[in-house]
């Protein structure tokens, strides 16, 4: 192997990757327990039946319908599975695609409950500055990321105060440059962690989460985005640009688990 010291590629690295450089990247811990034999058989059958191709960009409709149902069952809002849901490669991709889809620009400032938490590196990589809110309104493990606006006096305000009341109603197209951008991260709430209730989510908020509350599913790396269809459509273009679609067998695994077991980790 050749010596890469001061290689051209190394010299070409972007400034953003110096964020958190020198720190090691931990592996994803998963439960090292055998998968259910029924799940493995179901996956094998579907793969042999030809389910080895791209799924639609937002994901397999059957899974999105299950997701929408789970959100409603656990006390969350109602979503149109066809137009208001996207399955992603984990919760991180859900946030990444959402930040790009909502035009969170490099240099923007975000109020976040995420106290140096699991997505702080993503904000740093994207050049988004995170400011701790003075009045966090999310109870852990729920998190909220809101773009900070500047009012006429030049003072920072959290976005919720800037949201015009009329924008909270109806189904009008969302103009991201006119209204506050707000993302709520509910983690595994729809599939576990049932001791926490759903937050009040206004119609223009995008919600992200993961499927990790489902037993045996963490190695399949699934997350989701739900929200108003106009925003979900924009987010989907970035999900597509990033990874086209989420792995078909992973989606099938979640469908089986929800169909056959419906069991959640406690």
């Amino acid at each position: 192997m050749s010596d890469y010291t001061a290689s051209s590629t190394k010299r070409a690295l972007a400034q953003r990757i110096t964020v958190h450089s020198g720190t090691s990247v931990p592996s994803l811990e998963i439960r090292a327990e055998p998968l259910d034999a029924g799940l493995l058989e179901d996956l094998r059958d579907h793969l042999l039946a030809g389910e080895t191709h791209y799924t639609t960009r937002p994901g397999v409709l059957e899974l999105r319908q299950q997701l929408a149902r789970r959100i409603t069952i656990t006390g969350g809002p109602e979503y149109d599975a066809e137009r208001e849901t996207i399955i992603t490669a984990g919760e991180g991709e859900a946030l990444f695609a959402t930040l790009l889809g909502l035009d969170f620009s490099e240099g923007s400032r975000v109020s976040a409950d995420d106290d140096g938490g699991r997505h702080s590196k993503l904000f740093a990589i994207l050049g988004i500055q995170v400011v701790q809110p003075t009045d966090a309104n999310m109870a852990p493990p729920l998190l909220e990321y809101s773009e900070l606006a500047t009012d006429e006096t030049g003072a920072d305000t959290t976005g919720r105060d800037h949201l015009p009341q009329e924008s909270m109603e109806g189904d009008t197209p969302y103009q991201t440059d006119e209204k506050m951008k707000c993302i709520v991260n509910v983690g595994s709430l729809a599939f576990g962690d049932s001791t926490f209730g759903w937050p009040a989510v206004d119609p223009h908020t995008v919600v992200i989460g993961n499927f990790d509350g489902l037993a045996g599913i963490s190695s399949f790396r699934l997350g989701y985005v739900v929200g108003p269809k106009t925003l979900v459509k924009k987010i989907m273009t970035w999900k597509q640009a990033f990874s086209i679609c989420t792995a078909a067998p992973s989606q099938r695994a979640a469908i089986w688990t929800l169909d056959q077991k419906g069991s959640c980790k406690q």
């Binding site: 192997m1 051209s8 190394k10 972007a14 994803l28 811990e29 991180g92 640009a241």
Partner: protein, 388 residues
């Protein structure tokens, strides 16, 4: 404050997806559009994957299973005679698409220029735009020769920091042969640029040619990022597995970005890729034979219709010139889909100046390709009659 959105890439992508949505509403469509192999993943890969999934590790490295990275390194040693350190120089990605996006985030600063061949796969536009960079187009296509040429590169690259070389090309199927790759490598060294060598179609090279990987050229190892994957070679698009090979510092950077954006690839998908490399290495050659027959069938059909095209030396697409019919490709593709049920993609999905070109995939059985050519021939005959 810099806005990341690159509307041209989004628009180009939406052109394709709008046509696919329309096709999904029709019966009896022959899809020669999307780059998703019609062939299914071979059963031996699925069986092997099921077997491997009997054992679940306690953690998955963001870089990917070391066993899979070792297998990728072994593949490079066997097929190209190149040694890579699986621990430091390889990372597994969610398909080639994530690989290219992560690469751009790792290499492109806001304001940087990235040279790409024109025409090109439009997802590069979005990835480069998301990183705050801009595209410098290197022209190809003079006399229907779409192979990127080193002289054009030297003239057109200006202040670009990176060259994206997609070989064989999507959308044109052009193959830059070994001497051409050597000349591009020489230019890259002279111009001090990094080459992102997208070799996702490396196993689909026709006429007994072999792809010369850019990284194999003298002095290129330290300035090349190689992107590849399993989607095309093994018909595994749904598994979403690809990989990047490059400088340890680059791989380290990509790992940090990947940890923040998507984490490790799904375990099952990685096991499928491992099975493909370890237990089914014969598959790419078998698929190549099938694709070459289809390529020959398609070229014969287009020749019979008098349609010109770039020579497809590899890859899964044909790039055809429809300018003699006087109908812009967007309208042409829409008409052809509505009237004949044949789905193709318009050239503007791959670059603004390609208004009179179409991309036709080879991803249907030969009988279907023959039928599509017949339908297309009837449609074109009507156009010709109309213009007489």
């Amino acid at each position: 404050m810099k806005n990341r959105v690159v509307s041209s890439g989004e628009k180009a992508t939406s052109l394709r997806y709008n046509l696919m949505e329309l096709a999904a509403e029709k019966n009896d469509v022959i899809s020669l559009g999307r780059g998703d192999p019609d062939l299914d993943t071979p059963a031996e890969i699925i069986e092997g994957t099921s077997r491997r999934m009997q054992t679940i590790p306690s953690s998955i490295p963001v870089r990917g299973l070391l066993e899979l990275r070792r297998s990728v390194a072994n593949h490079y040693q066997i097929t190209k005679g190149l040694d890579f350190d699986p621990e430091q120089e390889i990372i597994i990605t969610n398909g080639g698409q994530e690989g290219l996006f992560l690469t751009m985030l790792a290499l492109v600063n806001p304001g940087d220029s990235v040279a790409t061949p024109d025409p090109r796969y439009s997802s590069y536009d979005q990835a480069i735009g998301a990183a705050g960079g801009s595209i410098v187009e290197i022209p190809t296509g003079k006399d229907l020769r779409f192979e990127l040429d080193a002289d054009d590169l030297r003239q057109g690259i200006q202040a670009a920091k990176i060259l994206v070389l997609v070989n064989p090309s999507n959308p044109t199927g052009a193959l830059v042969r070994a001497d051409g790759v050597q000349r591009i490598a020489e230019a890259a060294r002279d111009l001090d640029i990094v080459v992102v060598s997208d070799e996702i179609y490396e196993e689909v090279v026709y006429d007994n040619q072999r792809l010369l990987s850019t990284v194999a050229c003298e002095g290129m190892r330290e300035r090349t990022v190689t992107l590849s994957g399993f989607s095309k070679a093994y018909a595994m698009t749904g598994f979403r597995v690809g990989y990047l090979v490059g400088d340890p510092a680059f791989i380290d950077a990509v790992e940090r970005i990947k940890a923040a954006t998507s984490g490790p690839c799904p375990l099952l998908s990685q096991n499928a890729a491992l099975t493909a490399l370890e237990e089914a290495p014969h598959v790419p050659a078998e698929f190549r034979t099938i694709y070459q027959r289809r390529r020959d069938c398609m070229t014969a059909g287009l020749d019979a219709m008098g349609i010109s095209y770039g020579h497809p030396g590899g890859g899964l697409f044909m790039w055809a010139d429809i300018s003699p019919f006087g109908v812009p490709a967007e309208e042409f593709c829409l008409d052809v889909l509505r009237q004949t049920g044949v789905l193709m993609f318009p050239g503007k999905s791959f670059g603004q100046k390609w208004e009179y070109f179409v991309r036709i995939s080879l991803l249907a059985k030969e009988a279907k390709i023959t039928e599509a050519l017949e339908r297309l021939g009837d449609h074109i005959e009507k156009l010709r009659v109309g213009t007489r």
